[in-house]
Symmetry: C2
Subunit: 276 residues, 2 copies
DNA sequence: TTAATAGTGTCTCTGAGACACTATGTG
DNA sequence: CACATAGTGTCTCAGAGACACTATTAA
């Protein structure tokens, strides 16, 4: 007696079936910690103390603990590896190519965080470097970035050059509708400094008058009435960001932080288009 | 002899340390399959055959195989659960609250996909429904959506209402710079149909003249010279999307698909700001 | 006074909103 | 011919780009 024919779904299932499918992947959280220094985007890189890629630079990261959320893991990585807390941080993308880690299957849930030049400088320790990022693509396209240490190109471990490219792409998009620039400056800043941050992110020069108009019209800026000191010539007024209330942690962190299991009722369900 | 004092990092480490930290989470891929029907956004929901949330509707999903990429897993889920291939699909966000699944720790790498009403209708089988989505928030805010089956609210399993909210937020943002509307229509369509799709995504009415101008000026549309048939009154011209070349699969799928491990050279590295 | 940057005024151009208008196919 | 929708013309207004201009401070 012949076996019944296999359905298309059965065949797809068997084709992709493998006993190892029931293993679980490791899950890491990696953070692209971005700052603007000397008019260029820079990211923190940590020298890997062990294989794979021993001695090579990588983004700060760590494995996800079973009791922490992804956002908590990202914040922990920043606190442990750079001693930085309270930064703007947001989930970016999850990288999951099967062979992206040579040891075993490791997913990387990538985050990006923004920090001012001053805090970044204070945070750096001896096995860490700030790498300058060069973006070899324009606009929406996206891709990997090139990382330099000022003299030569640095090949990052794993696919971390892709993660940095994703972070820059996200930053560029976000600049259109969110006040991300403030996260990269100190408590007070001049409009020129803010413009330089935008120029670094976008990779292009901006004109001063429209930039000032946009920023001042956005309502996100408050003039302090104080002026920068120690400049060679006319000092610029210092501004402050209007409302830092909702910038600590991502939206989803707040939504899912205390999310609990609601029982709900087992409705009798009728479909709109179902034909059952 | 007293032990040396613990550093701040040591204390943080010990506080969060737990033997179970070395377990690995399960990783699922869930897909928000979106279509526009009768002027409203709808998503495919599958009735869960087993606990947890037995009998409740959930997004189509499955566990990640150890040999497939995340993008491949998402495409497999669409093929197996809805019989649909070649759709626009893109990674959305990774949901990782520790208790989002009552069984054990399960991360969900969420994707969204777009499909025309016709293909969606053909794909639906007896344990599936199209649910109408209502968006109880405006603009950028984001949050969960409400799902209806036409008569009553449907409580989705897990945090799948959040995933749908994220998908709609992403769609709204993407509408500003990418021609997503075409993914929700057939091969040819009228400008009025395209406008209805945009209106459904944005949740608001648009004016016809500026909408037509924008679409025609974008260069994404090609007039076919043919006209719709069977209309009560004056038939509208049919358009086609200009270039479907780069819309199959996400950017990162293409980038990471064949990514291999490059050996690279172990450069002598000098830092810009490192004080080592 | 000069140098150098801070900050403003204003013109143009583009594109969205708004609305009235013309065009055309079906009954 | 009437109707309903397709499709266009045009006015206004808001905002960006571009550039010249004035203002202010230190040396």
């Amino acid at each position: 007696m012949a076996r019944p024919p296999l359905s298309a779904e059965d065949r797809r299932f068997l084709d992709s079936y493998d006993p190892s499918d029931f293993e679980r992947p490791s899950v890491a959280v990696d953070v692209a910690l971005i700052t603007v220094l000397e008019g260029s985007l820079h990211a923190l890189a940590v020298r890997r103390p062990e294989s794979p890629y021993k001695g090579r630079f990588a983004l700060p990261g760590g494995f996800l603990g079973m009791k922490e959320s992804l956002d908590q893991a990202a914040a922990r990585v920043l606190a442990d590896k750079a001693g930085l807390e309270g930064l703007f941080i947001e989930q970016l993308y999850t990288f999951g190519a099967p062979r992206r880690d040579p040891r075993t299957r490791v997913l990387s849930v990538a985050y990006y965080a923004l920090v001012s030049q001053e805090r970044m400088r204070d945070a750096i320790s001896k096995d860490q470097r700030l790498l300058r990022l060069e973006v070899p693509w324009e606009g929406e396209a996206g891709g990997a970035v090139l990382a330099h240490d000022g003299a030569r190109k640095i090949a990052l471990a794993f696919d971390h050059d892709e993660i940095l490219g994703m972070a820059i792409k996200r930053l560029r998009g976000k600049l259109n509708y969110a006040p991300v620039g403030y996260q990269l400056l100190g408590e007070t800043f001049t409009l020129r400094q803010l413009q330089e941050v935008h120029e670094a992110i976008l990779g292009q020069k901006l004109l001063k008058p429209p930039f000032r108009r946009r920023m001042l019209a956005s309502g996100d800026l408050v003039a302090t009435g104080e002026f920068e000191a120690g400049t060679a010539y006319r000092p610029a007024e210092l501004y402050r960001f209007a409302d830092r209330a909702d910038l600590g942690g991502s939206y989803l962190e707040r939504v899912t932080r205390e999310r609990t299991l609601t029982s709900g009722d087992e409705d009798t369900l009728r479909g709109i288009l179902g034909r059952g």
